[in-house]
């Protein structure tokens, strides 16, 4: 018995020591990281620690987006899609031509949870909470712009007022586009739709919409990104015609998905319905 016991302790001691030292290293590095992260309160009252928005963010969003919204939450690795890094990435689900979401776009994203296949964030947040969270993520985005401008251009003489001006501009949206309803005689024409699709989308989404057109697509941060498989993947921003119209017209900033700013409204509608056809969604019929 005794002999066995010591051998067990001997067997245990090495892993225990190893485990303990790993734990120490982890704790030390965690502390260092903690001390390296900036205090948000020093940067802007909108995102200050202790504010309502900050608390909401910690409770509902930080697990994926990280405590300061840098896309590095502990649950992030388990997801198929990388959670947005609000400091360094633009917003993708927008309804403007200037690459900036309106507050309504953000509220829709956060409230409906549509971007968040994995997380129905909406139901337990009040309109006020959603509005506060929209301001919160937009302000982080502004701070990120300011940070990058400072890093790159301060040495070339860009002063703080210009940094503030440009970063503010980067998060201030113009009017959203109006989605003009197709005229009464409009009918989805699958042949026209397919021609337009092959001419404007097929290079990336593949001739059959399977997202296999590009060799090694990258996002604006240089990370691999996949082109949406329109046939089988969920359409994050919503597959209803109006949302699709916005996605095609406005594009998805930060990704290869461009804005179709040069096509006519009718052509966009044909593309919307052709996309819905690829997705297996019902199409409108005559006399709709």
């Amino acid at each position: 018995m005794k002999v066995k016991n010591t051998s067990v302790t001997r067997k245990l001691i090495l892993p225990l020591l190893l485990g303990a030292s790993v734990a120490v290293i982890l704790i030390v590095s965690a502390c260092q990281r903690q001390s390296q992260t900036v205090s948000l309160a020093e940067l802007s009252p909108i995102v200050a620690e202790g504010s309502r928005a900050y608390e909401l963010f910690q409770n509902h969003c930080a697990a994926c987006h990280g405590r300061q919204g840098r896309g590095d939450g502990s649950a992030a690795i388990a997801l198929n899609t990388v959670p947005r890094d609000f400091w360094n990435e633009p917003f993708r689900y927008i309804s403007t031509m200037d690459g900036v979401p309106t507050k309504e776009d953000l509220a829709f994203t956060i409230g409906s949870g549509r971007v968040h296949g994995e997380m129905p964030s909406g139901p337990w947040l009040s309109d006020e909470d959603i509005s506060a969270l929209s301001d919160f993520v937009l302000e982080l985005n502004r701070l990120g712009w300011a940070e990058r401008l400072r890093e790159e251009f301060a040495s070339e003489g860009m002063d703080e007022s210009e940094i503030q001006e440009i970063s503010q501009e980067r998060v201030t949206s113009e009017e959203p586009i109006t989605v003009p309803m197709p005229g009464p005689v409009f009918l989805p024409d699958m042949q026209r739709g397919r021609d337009l699709y092959l001419a404007s989308c097929g290079s990336c989404h593949g001739s059959n919409g399977r997202g296999d057109g590009l060799d090694m697509p990258l996002d604006d941060l240089g990370r691999p990104i996949s082109v949406r498989d329109l046939v089988s993947e969920p359409i994050q921003g919503g597959s209803d015609p109006v949302e699709l119209f916005k996605r095609l017209r406005c594009g998805m900033p930060g990704t290869p998905m461009p804005s179709q700013s040069l096509l006519s409204d009718d052509d966009i509608w044909q593309l919307v319905y052709y996309t819905r056809f690829l997705m297996g969604q019902p199409l409108p019929t005559a006399g709709r």
Partner: protein, 252 residues
């Protein structure tokens, strides 16, 4: 009117003048560059040399199927050095010049600032456009390209140009060197240089550049290259004379 009153008025006028002049100075600073007719200007000519072994041109491995992308071999323009070790595609500009000639106003359409998508390349590799002036963006290929700008001071854009669209225009609000890419043909890279004044030149295949109608004075010349970095050099321009400068960029 007694003396005291006159003194007060004088002080008042002086203050007003001071206020007006600082306001003027500020507005001038805000405005940046001011154009005027340059008489007696000088010329700055120069060459950009390369210090290092001449790099071999890198042929692009064209992975897409479109025929037009395979019509002519495509070479990377990231670093183009002549046999005599001169650097093409370097941008020379006069740093912070406040007064000088107006921007050229080309009457011919073909002389207007333009960038074309042709043979699955951007042509030219570096396009210079004056601040607030339109840049013509052409698509001669008749296939889908997307013009994706990675700007930081200006609003980033990513515009689809399907084959049927032959031309569009871009405008920029702030001076900047903007990287442009096409996501469909990832080797397609260009730079748009938004110039705050007309003293910007891109070096040719002999690494040469020439800036003319420069008001006499001493300036800092700035040289920028996408991979070799940025250097500056002082130059003094005398009326009607040619000032020669040589730059050397070191291999990275």
């Amino acid at each position: 009117m007694n003396r005291q009153k006159i003194q007060i008025i004088l002080v008042f006028v002086a203050l007003l003048g001071l206020a007006a002049s600082t306001a003027f100075a500020q507005s001038a600073k805000k405005k940046g560059y001011q154009a005027q007719i340059v008489k007696n200007g000088g010329t700055i000519v120069g060459v950009v040399h390369y210090d290092g072994p001449t790099p071999t041109p890198q042929r692009v491995d064209v992975k897409t199927k479109e025929d037009i992308c395979h019509a002519d071999p495509i070479y990377s323009e990231e670093l183009v050095v002549s046999d005599d070790k001169e650097v093409q595609w370097a941008v020379v500009s006069i740093k912070g010049i406040r007064l000088g000639k107006p921007f050229a106003k080309p009457s011919e359409d073909k002389d207007k600032p333009t960038i074309d998508q042709i043979g699955c390349r951007f042509e030219p590799h570096i396009a210079v456009v004056g601040l607030g002036q339109p840049l013509k963006v052409l698509n001669s290929d008749g296939i889908l390209h997307n013009v994706h700008t990675y700007s930081k001071k200006n609003r980033p854009k990513n515009i689809a140009m399907p084959g049927v669209i032959k031309e569009t225009k871009l405008k920029f609000r702030r001076p900047e060197h903007i990287k442009v890419k096409c996501d469909i043909h990832p080797w397609m890279v260009a730079y748009i240089v938004v110039a705050e004044h007309p003293y910007y030149e891109v070096t040719d295949e002999k690494g040469a550049f020439e800036l003319n109608d420069v008001p006499p004075g001493t300036y800092t010349l700035s040289l920028w290259h996408e991979t070799l970095g940025q250097v500056t050099q002082q130059v003094t321009v005398k009326p009607g004379e040619e000032a020669r400068v040589e730059f050397t960029l070191s291999a990275k």
